[in-house]
Amino acid sequence: VTGDTEPRWRAAMFGEPAGAGRVRCTLCPFRCVLGDGQVGVCRVRRNEAGALRTATYTAAVTHLTAIERKPFYHVRPGARVLTVAGPGCSFRCDYCINSRLSQYGRDDDAPWLGEPARPAELAARAAAAGALLGMSYSEPSLAPELTLDLAAQGLPVVWKSNGFVAPAAIKVLAPALLAVNIDVKAADEAAHRHLTGASLAPVWRAIEEFRAAGVWVEISTPLIPGTCAEPEALRAIARRISSIDANIPWHLLRFTPDYRMRNADPTSPAALGQARDFGHEAGLRFVYVERALGAEGRNTSCPGCDAQIVNRGIWRMVQNVIRDGRCPECGYAIPGRWGER
């Protein structure tokens, strides 16, 4: 997609009057109060003459890829996802590999890209490929209007998100979502604010709210030096996930030096192996490393009998023997969304 060089704004949800022509955006926990013409922290929602408008009803990228790439390992293994993304993010993470898309409005290297999304066409393309619909690469929660319209086409929708979404918005959006993979990028508030510019507490709350609303949740943690790559931080994150539910899949992602963090080294395989151990020590049943530990880092074993029930290659499913959500050897119910919604 190439398309426009300037955003096209349209009516947005989650706006409320804030007096004197100002508008409060209640979509995310920043709750920006915007004067006429002002954009929010996200740079893609703004006040236009007292009404909240959004630029996120946009398709800058439409890619058909494996669901394992989001990553989702407990949602329809082997499925394909037509991922739709427009510019914009509520975070400004120093390590962002997608900064040329996500950091629109903040960086000169991230110009406006895309054209208005056409949900019916996107759904038809996904259906023809036997795929789900996904929103990823930038921050999908900034596009609730597009999310709802995509879901209205009748295909399941999945997000890869930073989880910085207000509870009231989650209530509205959860029925439209099959699954969300949420990044947990730090163990404490100070580190999270330093990296992202935002508070960590709403992310944990979003994880609980999505789950309470019936949305399948997986969690990803990139091992960012100085933020969450250190053992105590990883242990703390693992314990927190386990305290919510030991069945939540935890994906450990290799840090790649890029953007404003080019001086640090990439994560070593040994560090990823150690982090996986922390996850298991915390009681997590499903801890995954996509590449660095080889196939054993990607496979799913049954917690009941240790049989291998899903074998994966890089960004693909090789074999899935789960039947009706259960291990074929011992009948253990494997948590996930394995079949039809």
Binding site: H63, S136, T256, P257, D258, R262, P266
Partner: protein, 71 residues
């Protein structure tokens, strides 16, 4: 110098295997594959530091640069 056009692409082949990561703890590895195609010369780069690949490709020419996105 012309600004490089960056294009987001669905998929690019790997030139580095994960088993090599531990041999390059500082990420000082860039691998290139140069092919002659009907459209001209295509250079595929893979590396552990995207910045290094981009610097190499930018030094070679100002054609569009494709990159994959994370997530």
């Amino acid at each position: 110098m012309t600004a490089i056009q960056h294009v987001f692409t669905e998929s690019l082949p790997d030139l580095i295997d994960a088993s090599e990561y531990s041999r390059y703890p500082e990420g000082a590895l860039v691998r290139l594959r140069i092919s002659v195609t009907d459209a001209g010369v295509e250079i595929l780069g893979d590396g552990l530091r995207p910045e290094l690949i981009e610097r190499v490709l930018a030094a070679i020419g100002d054609g569009p640069m494709e990159q994959m996105l994370c997530g």
